[in-house]
Amino acid sequence: MTVTIVDYGSGNLHSAVKAFERASREHGLDLPIQLSSDPEQLRTSSHIVLPGVGAFADCRRGLEEIPGMVEALHEAVLHQGRPFFGICVGMQLLATRGHEHQVTQGLGWIGGDVVALETGDQDLKIPHMGWNTLDEKRPHHLLDGIPTGENGLNAYFVHSYQFVPDSTASAIATTTYGKPFASIVGRDNIVGSQFHPEKSQKLGLALIANFLRWRP
């Protein structure tokens, strides 16, 4: 079975592919990693990754422009229960709606809204850019063996919007920048991270390996 990273014209997929390859190799998983814009490929994938860089509406449009892609994602993830990982805007797309520039419908797999990052401190720079830690809100396979909390490992963030889930149970981890926001969301076979695991060195490679081993 193959791990498919969905290519829908969003940003730098090269490093995502390389990070997944490295994590797979280093952890002895030897899973083939492919970049694909072919919805048919999702049917034979063991894991599906949706990256995303840029604006919510642009990414949503990019997905729509591939005939059959949204339907194939629904089928593979919601009906067949394939493990799914959304990264950055790929995670935000899981929400019901995005409010960046205009209101755009998300995939609606995890109820919630993507709104401008609210820090409560006007001295804090936006975007939230750089390395920050995670606070585990509920145990999840994705964080197995990864130190969290103030003295835990750091993840690399760059974003100006945040995912506000309808249910606090959807937040697997939060990160504090002025105020806490959801940095990992998930339910069932679906997870998403606001940070970039493919840019997060130690934490990132461990988290990707956990995802590749995940059998929800």
Partner: protein
Amino acid sequence: MLKSRVIPCLDVKDGRVVKGVNFVDLRDAGDPVESAMVYDKAGADELCFLDITASHENRGTLLDVVQRTAEACFMPLTVGGGVRTLDDIRTLLLAGADKVSINTAAVNDREFVKRAAEKFGSQCIVVAIDAKSVAAERWEIFTHGGRRATGIDAVEFAQEVVSLGAGEILLTSMDRDGTRVGFDLPLTRLVSDSISVPLIASGGVGNLDHLVAGIRDGHASAVLAASIFHFGEFTIGEAKQFMAGHGLNMRLD
């Protein structure tokens, strides 16, 4: 808690590092990818390549360097130098750059910043500003390595490019660059306090106290340095430990 970042910068010409790089355990001091891997292992928070290739024909070697670095280093990579068109940006991003730094093209045509941010997102658009003191409390933008004055006020320019969509500002003091006497702190603080996005301070680092001052007194989110790291004077790890010891929030993973 968000950490302050330490960013080593490598000058790359025709695919090779210029200015000496002198690490222990480096087979080829001229290969930027090898240097990048050393910095990656040492805990650099980001990497920056500045391409100073003179001719456009040799530009392909940079893409090869970016691509090989992105394959080996899982950390953010900023590439600057000679970025003039949306195609230049697209090519660098596809090769594996996470952010692209725009300098002269932003001075010549500010709308270029807007087009770039709209196309690729503010998160990957860094505007590099080279500023020089022209009077008390006044700094202006210079281009062509600090030789050509533009008469543009540095603070106003920074605010304008941020309003057009720049996601980060890389501020270099031309007065301090290469002097090793420390950042121009009044300039750094003035620009950082005038903009809503993160600022990377650059130009003049000669010791580790300078890095602390850049964050603490210059209000920068990140500090960029070249020579103190290249010549093996200090490691990235030493720099970050030192900064943490002075009360700054650093990533010591």
